[in-house]
Symmetry: C2
Subunit: 142 residues, 2 copies
Amino acid sequence: VYLVGRVDRGIRRRLEGSLEQFGLSLSEFTLMSILKRRPGLSNAQLARRSLITPQSMFDVIVRLEARDLVVRDLAPAHGRALSARLTPAGKRLIEKAERAAAVLEDDLLADLAEPERAQLRQALIGVVARLRDRAPESNVLD
Amino acid sequence: VYLVGRVDRGIRRRLEGSLEQFGLSLSEFTLMSILKRRPGLSNAQLARRSLITPQSMFDVIVRLEARDLVVRDLAPAHGRALSARLTPAGKRLIEKAERAAAVLEDDLLADLAEPERAQLRQALIGVVARLRDRAPESNVLD
DNA sequence: CGGATTTCAGTGTGACTGAGATAA
DNA sequence: CTTATCTCAGTCTCACTGAAATCC
């Protein structure tokens, strides 16, 4: 249980150090990284995906919007929901940042061969799924 | 990379909720859990093990000391270092808290059979080791 | 003196809860 | 009316940096 905590704190410090050259915090990096793969998600959807509250996610989005790395427009036919996506500048920045992150990840996983890496990834994805299942307001569709 | 972050945030919320019945924060729980297995470690040693600064660890220890869950005495022949250990009350409390944590962990790993669990554990331990290697002041001996 | 440790003090980020406005 | 969203405001815990004192 707290092995995950230690790994997270360690990665956090390392990755934060590596991301500051891009002016990105870890939460900003994470958000942009999700948005790159799933453009068009709303704030509420992003929050559920990341297992944080919509209010917390909102802070992150606002900061990135102010820097013109993210834009939002009204989601097609869906209440007040705002659909978020990366701007061209945002895309360029996340590409560079992800390359730095990949270097770090590769270093941390140096002891593991490819099949084991995939297995680790799968195991973690499984745990995330379980965490979301058990969440107070689970919304599997997002 | 950020899979770990998501898992950690999810576990954090869940575990914090489950630990508050014991009046323990997650960092307090983690410290006591380490101390149970490795009694006699100093503040600086505990900090290195947990990948946080000695100042941060200090805050946690002070709180637990005030509640008589942890005591410290001068380490045998080693400068100013104070050797920390659990009090009987501390031992009783961590036993109960760990049982609650085990239930949660079991639930999260429900999809994985025992060999895969062991493999996941080993992979994470490997990453922690790598993180400590790369740390600014690595002290492998602790 | 130098290195490791403990301790005190101040800071700040990132998440949280609570409350209000708007839209289907 | 209910539900989901977005938004604003305030709070708080945790770890951080900086600095000082102590001990081989």
